[in-house]
Symmetry: D2
Subunit: 171 residues, 4 copies
């Protein structure tokens, strides 16, 4: 077993790399289950956007977020970059859930397609991601952003490079 990666909130300054160090010592699924229970450090971005991990199994995750107008673009809907951030998080986590300890995945590319505007009237949205193919060196995942009724607002795909012991390596 592993110790929770510093769920005490005491992680100012250069904390994020430290959090990652802990993550890298753990099996991916185990780390994500701790995250789901709120026992892992949060980044400022996570707090600001307010997303949470709802479900996780090997190769499959769901994150959720409640749209606020603070996340809006100038056109009066949630900024496409914010939607992409949520999808990216889900896509990367779906791949991470398959990795043993000592391995990390880094996003090589991220492609989002927008189908409908997301607004505060949309209510809670869910980013559902699953792995399409995982090889030794790369993995591909796909995700969709849906509301509580299953209506699709955006879809995304991503290919990640799987790294061994080189967290911030240049691809």
């Amino acid at each position: 077993m592993t110790t929770p990666p510093g769920g005490d909130g005491s992680h100012a300054g250069q904390t994020y790399p430290h959090a990652m160090d802990v993550f890298r010592r753990m099996d991916g699924l185990e780390a994500l289950e701790l995250m789901k229970q709120g026992k892992t450090p949060q980044t400022n971005l996570m707090r600001w956007m307010g997303y949470t991990l709802e479900q996780v199994e090997r190769g499959k995750v769901t994150f959720a977020m409640i749209p606020r107008d603070e996340l809006y673009n100038l056109i009066g809907s949630v900024h496409g970059g914010i939607i992409t951030t949520l999808l990216d998080t889900a896509l990367g986590s779906a791949v991470q859930s398959l990795l043993p300890s000592g391995r990390a995945a880094t996003t090589m590319d991220l492609h989002t397609r927008f189908h409908r505007p997301v607004t505060t009237a949309t209510g809670k949205v869910f980013a559902q991601a699953q792995v399409v193919h995982a090889g030794r060196r790369t993995a591909t995942a796909e995700a969709k952003l849906v509301d509580a009724t299953g209506k699709v607002y955006a879809t995304g795909t991503s290919t990640l490079l799987i790294l061994e012991d080189k967290p911030s390596a240049q691809v």
Copy 2:
């Protein structure tokens, strides 16, 4: 000429659609020049990320941002979604700079490729976008994120739908 779209900061609540209403009454390049001068309303997202419009001409814009660790992911570099948000803003603005008043562009898809991690050590980064092709109904733009020495950290492309008088229309 047009009046600045409420540069007084008094734009709480459902302000953003209002800001857009003003934008839509203006020529795209003119609106962006006001934005460059800081005379347009800012969204919370713009303030939080802290990006600014540095240069604008017809079909070509540059935004800048100073990386902070508040924008980090768990791996200790700026979250890919934040980089995408900056590129998206630049790509959309490059297209908007070509549009006459009464027309708006909405992002259909956004594809980002990540080449190197962006950290606080990177210093100020610049999202340079230009239009590749503009038709009557759609336009495509490309962008790159570089540092002060011109080193490339990410590249992105986007296709936008050009709308007449239907700001939040479903595509």
Copy 3:
């Protein structure tokens, strides 16, 4: 009902636009069902690649192809462009199957991800495409290329513009 669009093979020269004229007079699903029965004109490309339409319903199609080494790249597997051609055909047809007569869809972009090499040893492959979202002006579809056991070789996504009476219009 409609007459089959010239299934007699007599379609040299500028035939293809003519074939399209016929297609445009038909409901999309109806036209694809004729194609499945081999009653529509074939392009040279279709004959050379040797793909066939296996299944079609509203919003969902499957094409099949048997890999031959004539379709190889220099590395000894089917050229990525050929795989993309097959996925593109499936993606476009999935959208077309939703359109009433008088409307056509034109591909705006096409994104293919390659997971494994396809060779003559792979045996028959299937390009399965389905529509993810269809709006008034655009539609998005996703596809995967699988073998007889369901193993995934490539995945693709595409957004198409929906045109009324303007077949070769510039987007």
Copy 4:
């Protein structure tokens, strides 16, 4: 120096892997210069599409092709898959031109955006590709398809995985 990789045309059957073996023994730029001189084996696909390598330097190549109606789709313009095949060839070659002997690049993904239809009336088209970023494990290139006047018909981007001694490895 290296011997030309079998420019005698005697490469039926499982020749293509053999051609690749030769390619892999050569510096990438050197191999492409032989291809430009017509001294490398051609695949059936190259012959059928009729494209040629016009220019090559480190990180930058231009291929050319004359559109024929044999390459048409049902709408009466060159099939998007064919345009993608040409761009893919250029993108891959741009990366290959940077590689020393013993290394090969394999396409991970390919994203094409279509701006205008290509027809026989377009005349000779040129696929110009250049490398955007080359790391140790991956490289990204961008390309555009233009006519003799520089008008842009399509653009594409691709990320390739760089392999050592594992030509048909599963990514």
